[in-house]
Structures are given as C-alpha cells and as structure tokens.
Subunit: 285 residues, 2 copies
C-alpha cells in the first residue's frame, strides 16, 4: 500500500539522473506533483530529455550555492566511487537547512570519506534503496522501482536529519530499516555483491560456442552479469574486505558440493540442495 505523506519535501535535487536518480525523480513526480525535482548532471542534452520525459521540473549542470538557498534535500545518485567527493563538495556550499543523502550500494567507505570533513559529516545521512536493474540510464526509470523495497538508512546522532531522510525514502514507498554502515556492507556483500560475482562467474564458465545450449535457468542465474562493469568494479572494490569474505564463503560451499560428488556422498548432495531449496522457497519467485 502506498504510504503517501501529506508533508513531503518542497524541492529535491537529484545529482546523477541515471536509472536510480531517474526512478527517484519519477517516483516523486508521480506522488508529489507539488514537489520540485531538479536534476543535476554533466550532459545538458540528456537532462533536457529527462525533463521532456516528465522526470524533472528543472535541471542544471552543477550544484551552486544559489541553488541550495532553497531548503532542499539533495540525493546523490552517482557511481559509488564518486559519491563521497560530491557530497563533500555540496556540503561546503550548503546551509544547515540542506540535508544530503545518497543511494550507493556500499556505505562504510562513503561514510568514512564524508566524515573526514566536519561539514559534510553534519549534513549527510547515507542510504541505500535495495532496488535496481542491469540496464542503465533514465530511459529505464520506473516510478515504482522502490515500492515495497527495503531502504537502508545509516543512523546518525542527528535525529531530526535522520528522520527527514527516513521520511523521504518512506515517501517513495520504501520499507526503511536502520543499521550501521558496517552491518550494511557485511550484509550486502552476501545479498547483492556476491550474487553479482556468481552471475559473472557462471557466465564466464561457458564458452561462446556453448551459449546456444543454455536455457532459461542459465538466463536467470546470469542476468545481472550484464550490469555496467565500471559501476560494479566500484561497488566490489568499495566493499573489498566484505566481498573477499563473501567469495570465501562461496568457495567453501562449492568445495562442499565438489567433495560430496568426489566421495560419492549422494545423500550429502541432496542435503545441500534441499537446504538451499527450502531457504529459497522463503522468497517469492
């Protein structure tokens, strides 16, 4: 059920109008027509197209002090390795009535870099809506991309500011949960970053000559491997230690399967498969 709040933001600045930024813009425009959505990006032509598509009320190629005069919430939707620097740059131009959040898939590295500056530390509340797709660009934006999806908000000492960010994401129909940046990264390494590596590995294990011999199962397992390699490099390297640990978990489980096969422990194979099947059946298809 949509949880539409009577009090939403008056003006949201979306920095980076790709799939995520565009979907945030679309979600706001659809639910809160009175809220301005100002897109910020490098390419005016793309921004104009996003405005023409109804996602933005206005756009600009850089966040200025002037733009930030309006009490605004700024959502930084850049690749994870660019977020902290942009947050800090914006914070140095902004008054205390501006709050900055993000949508990055890693949180520790970003929060640590942001905390290196007292001003950006004060204005920033990190977030990560667990939603996305392997296609990039605002053309793939969906106003309901975040509906009923979990959004992690990293708790801060500034309760009012944290509440504003939680209210924002709830306004986009997210289920907001709070956790520390390190809890987030440890969890997402297993629930999102490892699956990407597994999809890529499964893809690479099959030579081009055998692609015609793949079925719908292969297609499902490998779908996300089509995602943007540079975005995913930034995510995996931005959560390096936890991703390494997650890969080790997968290596150990593969050894369990291989050992059971090698030692003719067919009951063992079935137990492993049954545990996974029962676990997976707790999620919908």
């Amino acid at each position: 059920m949509p949880e539409i709040h009577s009090k939403f933001e008056d003006c949201v600045i979306v920095v980076g109008v790709g799939l995520i930024g565009g979907s945030i813009a679309a979600a706001i425009r659809q639910r809160y027509p009175a809220c301005e959505v100002i897109g910020v990006g490098r390419c005016e032509k793309r921004l104009a197209a996003a405005k023409a598509a109804g996602l933005l009320t206005d756009f600009t190629t850089s966040v200025t002090e002037n733009l930030l005069q309006r009490s605004a919430l700024v959502v930084v939707c850049l690749p994870v390795d660019l977020i902290a620097a942009e947050v800090t740059r914006i914070a140095l131009l902004a008054g205390d009535d501006v709050t900055i959040t993000d949508a990055g898939s890693v949180k520790q590295a970003i929060c640590k870099q942001v905390a290196a500056n007292e001003r950006s530390q004060r204005l920033f509340v990190g977030a990560h809506p667990i939603a996305g797709g392997e296609q990039g660009g605002f053309e793939y934006a969906e106003a309901d991309l975040f509906s009923q999806k979990v959004c992690v908000v990293v708790d801060t000492a500034d309760e009012a500011r944290t509440d504003r960010v939680k209210r924002f994401w709830r306004g986009l129909e997210c289920d907001v949960v709070t956790m520390t940046a390190s809890e987030h990264d440890r969890t997402l390494a297993l629930t999102s970053h490892l699956p990407h590596v597994m999809a890529a590995v499964t893809t690479s294990a099959v030579g081009p000559e055998n692609l015609p011999m793949t079925g719908s199962g292969f297609r499902d397992v490998t779908r996300i491997a089509a995602g943007d390699p540079s975005l995913w490099r930034a995510i995996l390297t931005g959560n390096r230690d936890e991703v390494i640990a997650a890969i080790k978990v997968a290596e150990r489980l593969l050894v369990d399967y291989r050992t059971a096969l090698e030692t003719l422990d067919d009951d063992g194979i079935e137990s492993l498969l049954r545990a996974a099947a029962e676990h997976r059946s707790q999620l919908d298809a």
Copy 2:
C-alpha cells in the same frame, strides 16, 4: 515459426506426466489433435486429472505388451536415475516398430545403461530438450515449453530411428541438434548443472535473517535453487565427473576475482566483469 509436420506420430506414449511429460502431451494435443497421447504413471488419480485437463487421450499405470502393439513412440520423462531401467523394461516388451526416446538432462550414464541390453540399445534414441522450470507437476505444463528451444538428440547408427526421434522433437518446435552423449554431458555440466549449483550456493551463503535484504538480482540468481532436490541430486550425480570439472572451473574463476580484490588489482576486476557482461549480452534478457 511453428514447424508443423503433415506426418506426425499416430500415438505417443508419455511415461511420467510431470512438468516435462505434461508439456510434451500439451504440445502434441495442441498441434496434432489426431495423435493419441497415452499417459503412464503411478497414480491413477493424477493421470485422470491430467486427462481431464486435456493433456491425455488415455492413461494407464504401466506399459504392457498390448499397449505397445500399436506402432508407437514412447517418451520416457522420469527422473534421470530411473530412465534407463524403464527404457530397458519397455524395450523387452516392444516390437521393432516401437521407438523409445527420453527427455533426461544427462545422457552418458543413461545411454551406457541402456546399451547394456541389446534390445533396448536397438530401440532407444536419447534426447534432451533444454527447457524446464523449477515447479514440478503437470499443472505447470505449457504447450509451448519447447518452442524454439534446443533439443539435443544423441546420434545412433540407426538412421531411420534417429530421424523419427528428430522429427518428433522438431514437431514440438524444437531446434534439434545432434551430438554424442559425452559432448552433451560436458556442455550441459557448464550450461545447466553448474548454474544450478551456483544458484544453490548463492542462496546458502545468505542467512535467513538477511533474506529481507535481498533484491531482484538475488532473486534472479537463485530462482532455480528452488528446484526439486531429489531430481537435481540425480542429475548432478548422474553427470558426476563433468559436474566436478565444471565446479573446478567456477572455483578457479572465484579465485581470480578474490585475488584481484586482495592484490588491489581494480583494473583486473573490471576486466573480469567486462568480459562477463559482453559475453552475457550475446543472450537476450
């Protein structure tokens, strides 16, 4: 485009009316209303339900000499570890005008067992349509499950018999390719059996407490892990050596990712991801 043949079978016996057997029956009934489809299974009530659903023209709980008097094609759609014994049992009751094929996901073990008997060796032409789903039972049968899907037919010295089986699968709109049983098993270990293991491992790497933190990517990667554990035990153990080799390929690739992360070789990570993304983009979504 449907490739409907003017000359199809007059009578097809489907042994095992689950997802695959049921879909074969549905495909025949839809395309060749003049062809009888006789279902064989253990449970009369289930068979009666499949007949009531329009999949079968008749059913019985066992293949008898009498039933096989009619020149018929028999398709054995049992779990892979039960196929060879059933093929042999049927062959010993059948005349030369009966041809037996199957739909099993492994071929070497089945063909080898079948070849142990001169009569079953003569009547059998192994096949594997690369199509399926994680839900079992004829209730999930689809008349178009095999359309435009590859069906591997294992070549035999008996050209007329092999052609009959190829014509049968083509009649269900499969793209028929012929290969040896060992070529089939080596390929499918990578394109189907390893992906199942990878999906199961990815599922098991995430604790129950973290399932709510999974997104659509995790759902895609792990979907097939919900498949029937005993069917998949039979497949993995029925293609043991090739599956072990395929798991080793995946283990090596995981080590490549881990080592690149550990040695701060971020370009290396991106190269691995890019190769997989380009490879995956050769398939549709």
